[in-house]
Symmetry: C2
Subunit: 256 residues, 2 copies
């Protein structure tokens, strides 16, 4: 079998420890190609750069791996990989991360890591976004690497190429021996409670800075939040069809 | 009955003709409050501003309507409206737009207009995003205003407050008398084919600038793309649960 062709990206930027950990895994499995933001891009969601030009810079920090730093968003990285850098390349899989911090539950909506993976899946490339529930720059990615390797191998072996399957994988902050395994889940129902910091800049201008905390009210054992709280790696198959089919029949009063 | 309390936002910015058209409609129906980006923010998706402060500036261009220009993204606008500007305010509805250009099909993913409306719906405020299939600054919003008024009135009259219903409404570029009515649809399956413009800046640095065209391969009469092509206003009930429940049973090979 030819070596699997693996596109690697993230949202924490090309200098984040998490992408280094993921590239190490990708290199063991196949040929890795990296296009990642040149700076942190957390919370960029599915943003794309329309009104300004984007720069690409070849970087050499990953031995033997063709790598580019991109001035745009995580989704821009995937679009440029497909259209500019590797237009004739037939990627078997796109992996994004390993994100520093959770992308479980509603976080998928805000996550550049998951949006980059989704962009690949829109183009029918099977894709996985990996996130470790640890924001620290010194986070231990070894258990995440172990699961990333197994899950990428499963996808390459068992998911039809070109299906565009998208997985949101979150890994609890636990040593490998404490993790109970993986669990296929639905997106949990927690939410953020915002708390904006108000302040004044050196010239007296008022500003607001987003802070907040995630409130996990989820009791459903089928959810990713439950799985993570109980020591499992959560896997949520995700999609870009946002239609709420369940309410279609109930809203005929909008037919005018 | 008390006058409905209406939060208005958009992604084209507070100076765009489309938001002016929507505020006119909102003022006829109830009390309007405006928080919108201080510059165009198309394609921002569900991006939020984390790593820098956000500014708010009270503006006076809309007679009798409390209005703020926000330096952040469309989603930031909604978060600041709820948490900083109007924390004790119980909005009946959030309306976003009227967007200059289509947000049908996959465009919902990239759209700041729809992400702002979605952010309100995450907080259980019923919300509608309106988009006119005309990018021009001189677009005629009169037919869009007519439908916006009717649909906002329907939502206020018939959707339970606090349900968090989210509608993606697109209006074809047609005079009112040519529009056949509304149609409740599913998100269509068209996609973008990108074509990056390559160029050199004044100092010789290479850049890439996103261009592309939308390819509508949709034949399904249940889709928004079909409805719009056939002269209907499309209404797609949308949601932020991205779980693909349809594949959950098929991917047990990821359980390890």
């Amino acid at each position: 079998m030819d070596r699997p062709q693996i596109l690697v990206t993230n949202d924490d930027g090309i200098f984040a420890p998490g992408i280094k950990a993921l590239i190490e895994v990708a290199k063991e499995i196949g040929d890795a190609y990296v296009v990642a933001p040149d700076k942190p891009q957390s919370g960029q969601g599915h943003a794309i750069t329309i009104t300004s030009p984007i720069r690409l810079k070849k970087v050499k920090q990953f031995d033997g791996v063709e790598s580019y730093a991109c001035s745009g968003t995580p989704v821009d990285c995937v679009k440029l990989a497909k259209n500019v850098l590797f237009p004739d390349h037939d990627f078997d899989i796109c992996v994004s991360g390993i994100n520093h911090g959770s992308n479980a539950a509603i976080n998928i909506i805000y996550s550049g890591t998951m949006s980059a993976a989704m962009e690949a899946s829109i183009d029918r490339i099977n894709a996985i976004g990996f996130s470790l529930l640890d924001y620290s720059q010194e986070a231990d990615f070894s258990a995440s690497q172990d699961y990333a390797k197994k899950l990428i191998e499963q996808m390459l072996a068992n998911t039809s190429k070109g299906k565009g399957l998208l997985l949101n994988v979150n890994i609890p902050k636990l040593p490998l021996s404490y993790i109970k395994g993986t669990k296929i889940c639905k997106q949990g129902a927690g939410n953020w409670v915002e708390n904006y910091q108000e302040g004044s800049d050196p010239r007296g201008g008022k500003y607001y800075w987003l802070d907040g905390k995630f409130v996990n009210k989820e009791l459903d054992e089928a959810s990713d939040l439950w799985a993570l709280k109980n020591g499992y790696v959560s896997i949520v198959p995700s999609m870009h069809d946002l239609t709420d089919y369940s309410v279609m029949e109930q809203i005929d009063y909008f037919e005018i």
